[in-house]
């Protein structure tokens, strides 16, 4: 019996019991779709984390006031870090850039438009550290910081809300808590940033201006430090710690009054965790493939019993047990592969839907498709073998008598 004839016989057998075939395939369909969707979700999430790492800038350390890395870290009340600390850190040989931050909630106004947003006081090197680009105009300069100039750079969300007519904000005047600022630049769109901060919904001003006009204090909330390269990150972290302990005159019994986070390391941990989750989810999905396979075995056993007489007839006209085995094995294979293909289509559609809902790139790994299809074929052969074997070893005389 050639393969084409066997395929035709198998296909017809499936069509003869459409509902039953569909229900049997459902297990495989769900399994394959689940594997593909889960792997896609995992890879989408990983891609997003990786993208954020890249956007955050490379080789970054964040120095915050307050000890530890708990819920109270960087609490507003702790004012141990100053602008002078930032200047001292910038003098370290392995440090490329330093940008202190001071954030404040403000109400911005332009004409009759008002918008509640965050104003971030920082230095001229902030865009370089955070990979920000200006779409129109330019970021403020070190001179602006030195003389605490009343200049502002807007995120695109702020511009859109203060100037809803679509005109450019550059060169216009806005007021922040009743102080007049000249807009000198608008940033290019960034999308969501770390920790839920929307980098687009932000106004950037020189940190000296923020200290003098808004907080009236010398402290800063964060010091972003960019090391020369990834290899020197740990050294830089140790040097900063030593420097700050010395500057803050901490005795060896006292704890640090600051903490340093290696953001790249944290993001890499997140990425690793995401990968582990992906494996876990794919594993759970693979179990449902297994359950689908048992469903196939079940229905093939029913089919073999139902068609005992047919098996007897085929043997009487010259089918060898090998031919009978092949026929039922192919039926199981067609069942599981058809389920695999339908499941793959459902999985692709599902991944796309999830990607759109979650707002991350739809990553479809060809490997996961091949794996799912290959695995469903394997399931078909594995769980189809026992029923097929049962059919192939039946006694033709008894099979012909079977009612």
């Amino acid at each position: 019996m050639n393969l084409r004839a066997a395929l035709a016989v198998a296909w017809r057998g499936l069509l003869a019991n459409k509902m039953r075939s569909l229900l049997t395939m459902l297990g495989i369909i769900i399994g394959v779709a689940a594997v593909i969707v889960m792997v896609s979700i995992g890879q989408g999430a990983t891609a997003q984390v990786t993208e954020r790492i890249a956007r955050m800038g490379s080789n970054i350390l964040m120095v915050r006031p307050g000890a530890g890395f708990g819920p109270v870290r960087g609490a507003a009340g702790i004012e141990s870090l100053t602008l002078d600390d930032a200047t001292a850190i910038a003098a370290l040989p392995l440090v490329r850039n330093v940008a202190p931050e001071l954030n404040q909630q403000v109400t911005a106004a332009a004409g009759s438009q008002t918008w509640s947003t965050t104003v971030k006081g920082t230095s001229a090197s902030y865009p370089e550290i955070r990979n920000l680009e200006t779409a129109v105009g330019s970021f403020f300069t070190p001179e602006d910081t030195e003389r605490a100039a009343l200049v502002a750079v807007l995120g695109p969300t702020v511009e859109a809300n203060l100037f809803p007519d679509g005109s450019s904000a550059v060169g216009r005047t806005i007021t922040l808590n009743n102080l007049r600022f000249t807009v000198i630049g608008v940033l290019a769109e960034q999308g969501g940033g770390m920790g839920g901060q929307d980098q687009d919904d932000m106004i950037y001003i020189p940190i000296t201006t923020a200290q003098q006009r808004f907080t009236g204090r010398q402290n800063v909330q964060v010091i972003n430090v960019q090391a020369r390269d990834a290899a020197s990150l740990n050294t830089v972290q140790e040097e900063i710690a030593a420097l700050l302990r010395q500057r803050h005159r901490l005795s060896s019994q006292q704890e640090d009054d600051f903490n340093i986070q290696n953001m790249t390391a944290i993001m890499e941990t997140v990425a690793d965790t995401t990968k582990t989750m992906t494996l876990l989810l794919a594993g759970v999905a693979a179990v449902s493939l297994l359950v689908g396979g048992i469903g196939i075995m079940n229905i093939m056993l029913v089919s073999v019993t139902e068609r005992t007489r047919e098996i007897g007839i085929r043997m009487a006209v010259g089918a060898t047990s090998g031919a009978i085995l092949t026929q039922f094995l192919i039926e199981a294979l067609v069942l599981s592969l058809a389920g695999g293909v339908i499941g793959m289509l459902a999985g692709l559609a599902g991944s796309r839907l999830v990607a759109v809902l979650a707002g991350w790139p739809a990553v479809i790994a060809p490997a996961s498709i091949l794996l799912a299809i290959g695995f469903s074929a394997l399931v078909g052969i594995f769980f189809g073998y026992y029923p097929a074997r049962k059919a192939a070893t039946s006694n033709p005389i008894e099979a012909l008598r079977y009612e």
């Binding site: 019996m1 007839i313 043997m315 010259g318 005389i397």
Partner: protein, 249 residues
């Protein structure tokens, strides 16, 4: 008559069912020559079905030899027996045994699938066989769309399609009414006469046995009589005498 096609020498068949041993055949010696038309008669339990299964290579004797065309088939492996069933033997059953979701021609072509015949040739040969049993135009009907007599004719076409030397028919008219039975016997007689086929018909009806030229009676696993039928009934003449349309085809 030609050389013997079938030679049974001291064939016994014992079924072991639990403690009991059932002696279905107790020592059968039988020779059937090429081109014979033989009826095997016996009551149920006489061993005639077991004899039929052994003749058809579906079962093996417990002892004794079965030579088919001079070849001892009792020593063959299952796959070799399948090959012999495919090439040398055509079965016709009481209950037709057609596959329900296959059309008439596909049922007829079934043995050709296992003979490795290309698909195009398969259909041509199936249609030829259907024409020989008078079923042209019905090749695409499903068995459920055919009458009992037509189904049995499809089964006969299936038995013929691979040009076997022997046709084995097990109660071929058992499920048919009288007129249809005569029609089926007419087909057997014609195939025997025109193609020189060896036909063995197992039956318990004397009326059906009377269409054959030789009668073998089996009782309690032994052959009790083996006689020549001098004046076999002629199915085609009987059909011509009875106006068509009285029975159902």
């Amino acid at each position: 008559m030609g050389a013997p096609v079938i030679q049974l020498q001291g064939v016994t068949r014992i079924y072991a069912s639990g403690e009991n041993r059932v002696h279905a055949l107790r020592g059968i010696d039988l020779e059937i020559a090429a081109g014979e038309m033989v009826a095997v008669m016996g009551a149920s339990g006489s061993g005639k079905s077991t004899l039929m299964h052994i003749l058809g290579c579906l079962d093996k004797p417990t002892s004794g030899r079965y030579l088919l065309h001079g070849q001892d088939v009792t020593r063959l492996a299952p796959d070799q027996l399948a090959y012999i069933r495919n090439r040398q033997i055509g079965f016709v059953f009481q209950s037709f045994n057609l596959i329900g979701n296959m059309t008439a021609w596909e049922n007829v072509a079934l043995p050709l699938i296992y003979a490795g015949v290309p698909r195009r040739e398969m259909q041509a040969r199936a249609l030829t066989a259907l024409r020989q049993v008078g079923l042209e135009g019905r090749e695409n009907h499903l068995p459920s769309q055919l009458s009992g007599g037509q189904q049995q004719r499809v089964a006969i076409a299936r038995a013929l399609v691979n040009d076997p030397a022997i046709i084995l028919a097990d109660e071929p008219t058992g499920a048919l009414d009288t007129r249809t039975s005569v029609e089926v016997m007419a087909i057997f007689q014609r195939l025997h006469r025109e193609r020189g086929l060896t036909v063995v018909i197992v039956t318990h009806e004397p009326d059906i046995a009377a269409y054959c030229r030789r009668l073998v009676r089996v009782r309690d696993g032994l052959i009790v009589a083996d006689e020549v039928i001098e004046q076999p009934r002629q199915a085609e003449k009987e059909l011509a005498a009875v106006p068509a349309g009285e029975g159902k085809g």
